[in-house]
């Protein structure tokens, strides 16, 4: 049996090493290696998808395609990777977004080698975070992604990049260290000393006060990463200063580390404590969703606006996970988690598309201020219509990617905690703010300044095409993803 998970995981790293060995390669060649490597990685992810999560022969404590070898047997740490219905869609999303990012970044001329190497390292770290089944391995990938992203923002960001990168790094490191504490607590609390996440999920090692402390530490970590109000302050700064490619990965992939961790660690390893604290988490989720929407409403910078809508969308995911923790009914739990996982995937596609489009707009206009534009739909129709489609998806229009996800989250919320339905206000506000942004940028009187603005070129169309198609496909027929997710969410019992 081919170790497809490990191959997919380390292919990008291999590509990075190949580039490092060719110190004097031309920029085109370097970008080509990046594209080829990430395309092969996507193939690997598709192969994993084809194998699925239900293959009885490979299933092991709820996970399938498990591959493991000894790493530090003295302390019970091993290299263990595998997937289930929650992580597999995220792996596929990650591989796709990275490939598109490489296609889009083909024009980067500033230190192209370092750029591609960092991106490839980031890809391995991201896939590793989603597939790791050993807590130490998870933490390693989780942190490596921080380092890569720090250099990405500091090296290729916009005007105030140094400060934003520093803030991002220190803030998220502060955020991730409590997780280390929780991991150590789970390790020392178990009957046998092991870092095997499957063992922790099957038999939660902590209970009572210790479990609650571990949960608080984990919630802090993942709240910073997601980010949940009031721990979100690093996000707008990092997003606005990051290069477009960095923003796409940051929003499309790295924010999911937070919500994925919320499910994988907090919900699965300390279910009892999470149930007790569920209402608090639910309130945080509701506040985050509403706050994100209101804050986005007040923005004049297009990139900052989209960054805040991420806070809003990830807030819905937190609501979904909190509902899953609170409910005693397995059916509601499955609905809530299905919605949450699908929301992560949709958000990756939609926000990825929006950040790409803002990046393309900024390449042309060198500004992101809403009031600088006007009537762009006539000058650049392809860019305009793409933006409209992505924006409509983002505000939750039926038939587009976010709708089935948010619908399921709201459905579960209505059945479990009806008062939390106030979160639906967020949809109304996002609808308003996107309509305002669209009318300011793409409708109205064309601004003379942008008369010669070129429309999307071939490379940009290649980037946007797959995303827009998937946004529609996922909106109309979400079942091909939901079926995979559902296989896992129905088996969870706590």
């Amino acid at each position: 049996m081919l170790p497809i998970v490990s191959l997919t995981l380390f292919l990008p790293l291999l590509g990075a090493i190949v580039i490092m060995c060719h110190r004097n390669a031309a920029a085109e060649k370097v970008h080509k290696i990046g594209i080829i490597t990430s395309a092969l990685t996507l193939l690997g992810a598709l192969w994993m998808w084809a194998r699925g999560v239900a293959d009885a022969g490979m299933t092991d404590k709820g996970f399938s395609q498990v591959e493991q070898i000894d790493w530090m047997p003295s302390i019970g740490a091993a290299y263990r990777v595998g997937v289930d219905g929650i992580s597999l869609p995220l792996v596929l999303l990650t591989a796709l977004l990275f490939l598109l990012t490489f296609v889009y970044s083909g024009k980067v001329r500033k230190q192209p080698q370092a750029f591609v190497v960092l991106m490839l390292m980031l890809e391995t770290a991201a896939i590793g975070t989603f597939t790791a089944l050993d807590a130490i391995l998870f933490y390693v990938f989780f942190e490596v992604s921080l380092v890569s992203m720090y250099f990405m923002i500091a090296g290729w960001g916009h005007e105030d990049r140094q400060r934003a990168a520093l803030m991002f790094f220190i803030y998220t490191l502060l955020g991730s260290l409590p997780l280390l504490l929780a991991i150590l607590g789970l390790y020392l609390g178990g009957e046998t000393y092991t870092f095997d996440m499957r063992v922790w999920i099957e038999n939660p090692p902590l209970e009572g006060g210790a479990a609650m402390l571990a949960l608080i530490a984990m919630l802090f970590t993942f709240a910073v990463k997601t980010p949940v109000f009031p721990f979100h302050t690093w996000l707008p700064a990092a997003h606005v200063q990051a290069p477009a490619a960095g923003s796409v990965i940051l929003a499309g992939v790295m924010l999911k580390f937070g919500t994925y961790g919320l499910v994988r660690f907090a919900l699965q390893m300390t279910p009892g404590a999470f149930r007790e604290a569920g209402v608090v988490v639910l309130i945080f989720g509701v506040v985050a969703a509403l706050y994100g929407a209101f804050a986005a409403l007040a923005q004049t910078d297009l990139k900052r606006l989209i960054a805040y809508t991420s806070v809003n969308h990830m807030g819905y995911v937190v609501v979904g996970v909190a509902i899953a923790a609170l409910t005693l009914d397995p059916e509601i739990r499955a609905i809530a988690l299905d919605g949450s996982v699908l929301q992560m995937v949709s958000h990756g596609l939609v926000t990825g598309a929006l950040f790409f489009l803002v990046g393309m707009l900024q390449d042309r206009a060198q500004t992101r201020e809403l009031d600088q534009f006007g009537g762009l739909l006539k000058t650049v129709p392809l860019l305009g219509w793409s933006f409209m489609l992505a924006a409509f998806a983002s505000l939750g229009l039926p038939g587009l990617a976010h709708f089935p996800a948010e619908f399921q989250i709201f459905l579960a919320t209505l059945r479990e905690a009806p008062w939390a339905m106030i979160v639906i206000l967020g949809i109304v506000i996002t609808a308003g703010l996107y309509l305002k942004a669209i009318s300011q940028v793409f409708l109205g009187v064309p601004n003379e300044k942008w008369k010669t603005m070129p429309d999307l070129d071939r490379r940009e169309l290649l980037t946007m095409g797959p995303l827009l198609i998937l946004i529609i496909v996922l909106g109309i027929a979400p079942s091909w993803v939901l079926d995979v997710v559902h296989q896992t969410t129905t088996t969870l019992a706590f």
């Binding site: 000894d70 790493w71 530090m72 047997p73 003295s74 302390i75 130490i136 933490y139 390693v140 942190e143 490596v144 921080l146 380092v147 250099f151 500091a154 090296g155 140094q162 520093l166 790094f169 220190i170 490191l173 502060l174 260290l177 409590p178 280390l180 504490l181 150590l184 607590g185 390790y187 020392l188």
Partner: protein, 461 residues
């Protein structure tokens, strides 16, 4: 007796190496002194390997051949070899080059004696011997700064050693013996045990640069040649920490020694990084950083006797610390002592730049590097002992440490187009031979320990 000598073979070889180097220096053959030193230390390292797994004492229980002291040799001897390469690169050709090698080997020997000390007198011997060598090394350049630093170092050492010997008399009075293993009888008189322990932590704390006994360190490192600072920040420090671990092994918990160490650990970590935040001189910054790192070591010392992870944590972190700290100092040697010298360095010397980033983020404890594995084990050991609050403080300090280390990383990747090309060329283009192998070795071990810590862990019994 013969068996005792066999067990002490590595130490004896180190002593003979020092003598050989001294003879060569007296014959005005510093090159031979250098090669003799390297060969002798390498031989001693190889001869240590058969001792792995040994658990014995020599010379009527005064010297311990156990996990800690054997691994101390395996870490400190290679680290001394790397330091010697740096010293040769910096001081090679100067008038008294050979004496530096001799002194360094003597300090390493003193550190080895401390790490295996089973008797308070051996402990005192180790501290004094290491101290004498260190003053001379710091004063080596004969500049005002170096002389002042050596003077401070000397005065501080004399006072702390005096206090320590005075405090040790209480232990002698209580147990009737100078053996550390006899300390268990102090179970009934915790106050007596505590007084002696405070004295010990003053004596060893000065050697390991623990706050509040660290005042000499930044001045000494800044006044001394960079290579000497690199050496002093690694070898005697690890020696003193391991010695502390030997002391607490038989000390009754009732004396509250864990809490004394916990307080010192908090002060050391926090003060070290806060002070480092304000430094403009990279050597001083690294000096304060090494003060703070000593605080992390103490987390492992606290766990001695209560957590099986304690020795593993101390040993892995000491190897990691030696690799990353020597590596970082080696890069400083070839780049320059000021933060300005690092401006744009990452673009001009890509490999050295990457290496420096690796050393610094490893010092901050970011995976998958050596510093992470070490700190992770230290945290686990302290938590198992019940000092979770201390781990929380250590974790908060890790965030602070990142801010400290990024102060060097940020200028490394700043664009320098506006500068005159000539300005930069002077500081960055010269590469001193012997320095590059050192940081390459440091880089290798920082990655290797991070990814394959099992090689160490599997042999710590």
């Amino acid at each position: 007796m013969a068996n005792d000598l066999a067990l002490m073979l590595p130490e004896i070889i180190v002593l003979l190496t020092a003598v050989a180097a001294l003879v060569a220096e007296m014959l005005r053959q510093p090159r031979i002194a250098f090669y003799a030193a390297i060969t002798g230390l390498a031989l001693a390292t190889v001869l240590t390997i058969p001792l792995l797994g040994e658990n014995a004492t020599a010379f009527s229980k005064t010297f311990r051949i156990d996990t800690l002291s054997v691994w101390a040799k395996l870490v400190l001897l290679p680290a001394t070899i790397l330091s010697l390469l740096l010293v040769r690169a910096e001081l090679g050709g100067s008038a008294r080059e050979g004496t530096a090698y001799v002194l360094i080997i003597m300090i390493t020997l003193a550190s080895l004696i401390m790490t295996g000390a089973g008797d308070t007198m051996l402990l005192v011997l180790g501290i004094l011997l290491a101290g004498l060598g260190s003053f001379a090394l710091v004063a080596y350049p004969r500049t005002d700064a170096a002389t002042e630093a050596a003077m401070k170092y000397f005065v501080f050492a004399s006072v702390t050693a005096g206090v320590m010997i005075f405090g040790l008399t209480y232990w002698f009075g209580g147990t009737g013996s100078t053996l550390l293993s006899e300390l268990v009888v102090l179970e009934k008189s915790p106050a007596l045990a505590a007084i002696g322990f405070i004295a010990v932590i003053i004596g060893l704390g000065y050697k390991a640069a623990l706050v509040p006994f660290h005042f000499w360190a930044p001045d000494a490192y800044e006044g001394a040649p960079v290579s000497i600072a690199a050496y002093l920040s690694v070898i005697p420090k690890i020696g003193a920490i391991f010695a502390l671990a030997q002391v607490v092994r038989d000390l009754p918990v009732e004396s509250g020694w864990q809490w004394i160490i916990a307080v010192v650990a908090v002060l050391t970590m926090t003060y070290g990084y806060l002070a480092a935040l304000g430094q403009q001189n990279v050597v001083r910054l690294l000096a304060y950083s090494s003060v703070a790192q000593a605080g992390y070591f103490l987390l492992g010392v606290i766990a001695v006797g209560s957590s099986p992870l304690a020795f593993e944590a101390l040993i892995v972190f000491s190897a990691a610390y030696a690799a990353m700290n020597l590596g970082a100092f080696a890069i400083v040697m070839q780049t320059g002592r000021t933060l300005d010298a690092f401006k744009g360095m990452g673009y001009q010397k890509p490999l050295a730049g990457v290496a420096m980033v690796v050393f610094l983020i490893s010092l901050a404890g970011i995976p998958p590097l050596a510093g992470f594995v070490g700190k992770f084990l230290l945290f686990g050991a302290a938590m198992q002992t019940g000092f979770t609050w201390l781990v929380v403080i250590a974790i908060i300090n890790s965030v602070l440490s990142l801010a400290v280390y990024l102060r060097i990383v940020v200028p490394m990747y700043q664009q320098t187009e506006h500068q005159h090309p000539g300005d930069v060329a002077i500081t960055h283009t010269e590469t001193i031979p012997l320095v590059k192998p050192v940081w390459l070795a440091g880089l290798f071990f920082t990655l290797f320990i991070g990814l394959a810590a099992q090689v160490l862990l599997g042999n710590i019994v």
